[in-house]
Each structure stands twice: as structure tokens, then as C-alpha cells.
């Protein structure tokens, strides 16, 4: 039991980072916000939505991997997230299948 506890603590310490990495990620997120706002000002027509969603997805990946520590966690958490995304994507897919071919 003790060794398990030590292992858990060790796992924690293995992803204890310096402040710098997170501040860098924060500035990356700010830059992406600036990009998404300025791109929305351009007239890209139907591309606007796609670009906005791609940038939002990149921002989400940054937040999940660094702020939520997924990058440093055990792979099982990535499997968890993948299952959730597949369920959500199926829901969207089925809804639009209905909507488009109605």
C-alpha cells in the first residue's frame, strides 16, 4: 500500500513543471484568441466557421494537454477522452444526417 502511495506521489512529481511552461502556453492561447478575432473580421464567407472551430480545437488541445495535465497523465485518460469525443461526434453525425436528408 505504501509503495502504491509513493508511486502516486512520484507520478505527481514527474509532471511538476516550472512556471515558465504554463506561462508560455498562456501566451500561446492569447495569440490564438487574437488570431481568431482578427480572422472573423475578414470576409471569408463559409470558411469563417471552419477556421473559428479549428482554432478553438487547437486552444482546447493546449488547455487539455498542459493545464489539465493530460500530456503527462497515464494513457488511460486519453482513451477516456477519445471515447467521449466519439460518442459526441456520433450524436452530431446522426443529428445532421436527419437534418440534411429530412
Amino acid at each position: 500500500m505504501d509503495s502504491e502511495k509513493e508511486k502516486a506521489i512520484h507520478e505527481h512529481e514527474s509532471h511538476s513543471h516550472e512556471y515558465g511552461v504554463y506561462i508560455l502556453v498562456f501566451f500561446g492561447l492569447l495569440a490564438l484568441t487574437a488570431i481568431t478575432v482578427s480572422i472573423a473580421g475578414l470576409n471569408l464567407g463559409s470558411l469563417t466557421l471552419t477556421v473559428a472551430l479549428v482554432i478553438a480545437t487547437i486552444k482546447t488541445c493546449l488547455v487539455a494537454n498542459y493545464f489539465m495535465h493530460v500530456k503527462f497523465d497515464s494513457p488511460i485518460f486519453k482513451v477516456f477522452i477519445a471515447v467521449c469525443i466519439v460518442i459526441f461526434a456520433t450524436m452530431i453525425g446522426l443529428t445532421f444526417f436527419d437534418l440534411i436528408f429530412r
Binding site: 504554463y22 492569447l30 472573423a40 488547455v63 498542459y66 493545464f67 497523465d73 477516456f80 460518442i87
Partner: protein, 220 residues
């Protein structure tokens, strides 16, 4: 008589043994984190259902959504995005400082997070207040003159940003409780899974806003 005292002695030993076990309570940090993630997935699906509704109506009324979105202030939305990103960063920095055994700095970062959450809600208050003032609310005069698609846009706007705002308030309470536990040394540099779980919740609320912002404020 001596048999009796032996028994008491034995019982005492048993009690001590139990107390001993109590000191070494089993802690499962990974399990705790998994539980938190499972809860976050239910939140994702809660908001996910609304995002699907949004996508369907935007597909059906894309022009009306563009007209309705003109009422939303991109500037306020962008400021709120920056506020939430900064607050998320502060939570993660709070974890680092606790790992470095700097309790004061950790609490400082968490206070900053709470301040950001409050600032977000104040912005939201003025934003909603302005819309209600110009008559955009259920059965309001401005909404009555709008087309079906525009009414649906504002319905989704109020419900989705409202539910998100509710999550901000819950997140602030969650972090407040965690701060009290840090203050009382119940959460320490080698036992901070609860702090991390509150952080996960806060980051999820941030991620939801990352999608709400372009979908409501950046339609042109």
C-alpha cells in the same frame, strides 16, 4: 478478574491497531482523478446537447443568426476570453507553487482565479443588462419584432451563456472550499489531488467558453 482485564487490554490493542490503520488511510489519487474526468464527461455531454441544438438551428437559420449576432459585443466577449484564460493559467500555477511548498503563493494564485471569475460575471451582468434594457428578453418588445431565427439565437444565447455562468459560480465555490482546505493544511504539497480536481473543473469551464465565444460573438 484478571481474565477480564486481559480482555480489556486486548480490546485496547485492537483499538490501537485500528487507529494505526486510520493514520495510513489508503489514498488513490489516480482513481480520484478518473472520477473527476468521468464527471467532466457528463458536463461535456450536457453542453454538447446544446451545441448540437445550436448547430442545427444555425444550419436552418444561418442568415438570421448573422443578423442577431450583430447585437453581441465582440470586444466584451474577447475580454472575457482573456480573463478566463488568465484564471486557468493561475490555477495551474497554484498547483506548481503548492508542489514547491509555497502555500502563500498558491493561495495568491487561487485568489487571482476567484477575482477573474468575479470579473467575468460582472462583465456578463452588464452584457445581459444592456440586452434586457433594449428589450431583448422573453416577451420583450425588441424580441417580438425579430424573426424566428433571431429569437432562437437569443434563446440559445441566454441558456448557454447562462448555464456557463452558473458553472463559473459553482467553480468559484469549489475553489473557495479548496482554498480553505489548503489554509487548514488538509491539502499539502504531497496531497493535492483535490486541488487538481477543482482545477480540472475550472479548465473545462474555460474550454466551454473557448467554443461559446466564436460561435456567438464571431459570426459575420
Amino acid at each position: 478478574m484478571s481474565q477480564n482485564s486481559d480482555l480489556t487490554l486486548h480490546q485496547q490493542h485492537v483499538h490501537e491497531a485500528h487507529a494505526h490503520v486510520g493514520e495510513h488511510t489508503h489514498r488513490d489519487d489516480v482513481g480520484s482523478k478518473m472520477g473527476m474526468w468521468l464527471f467532466l464527461f457528463t458536463e461535456v455531454l450536457l453542453f454538447g446537447g446544446m451545441f448540437i441544438l445550436y448547430a442545427s438551428y444555425r444550419f436552418m437559420y444561418s442568415d438570421a443568426f448573422k443578423v442577431a449576432a450583430e447585437h453581441l459585443d465582440t470586444y466584451v466577449g474577447a475580454i472575457n476570453t482573456i480573463i478566463l484564460l488568465a484564471s486557468s493559467c493561475a490555477v495551474v500555477l497554484a498547483i506548481v507553487s503548492l508542489q514547491k511548498k509555497n502555500k502563500r503563493l498558491c493561495l495568491g494564485f487561487l485568489w487571482f482565479t476567484l477575482a477573474c471569475g468575479a470579473a467575468f460575471m460582472v462583465n456578463k451582468y452588464f452584457e445581459w443588462g444592456h440586452k434586457i434594457e433594449i428589450g431583448i428578453y422573453p416577451k420583450g418588445p425588441a424580441l417580438a419584432e425579430m424573426s424566428e431565427g433571431e429569437v432562437l439565437f437569443f434563446g440559445l444565447y441566454y441558456v448557454m451563456t447562462g448555464l456557463h455562468g452558473l458553472h463559473i459560480i459553482i467553480g468559484m465555490i469549489f475553489i473557495g472550499v479548496i482554498m480553505a482546505m489548503i489554509q487548514k493544511n488538509k491539502i499539502t504539497h504531497d496531497n493535492f489531488q483535490k486541488l487538481e480536481n477543482s482545477g480540472l473543473y475550472w479548465h473545462l469551464v474555460d474550454v466551454i467558453w473557448i467554443f461559446l465565444f466564436p460561435l456567438f460573438y464571431l459570426i459575420h
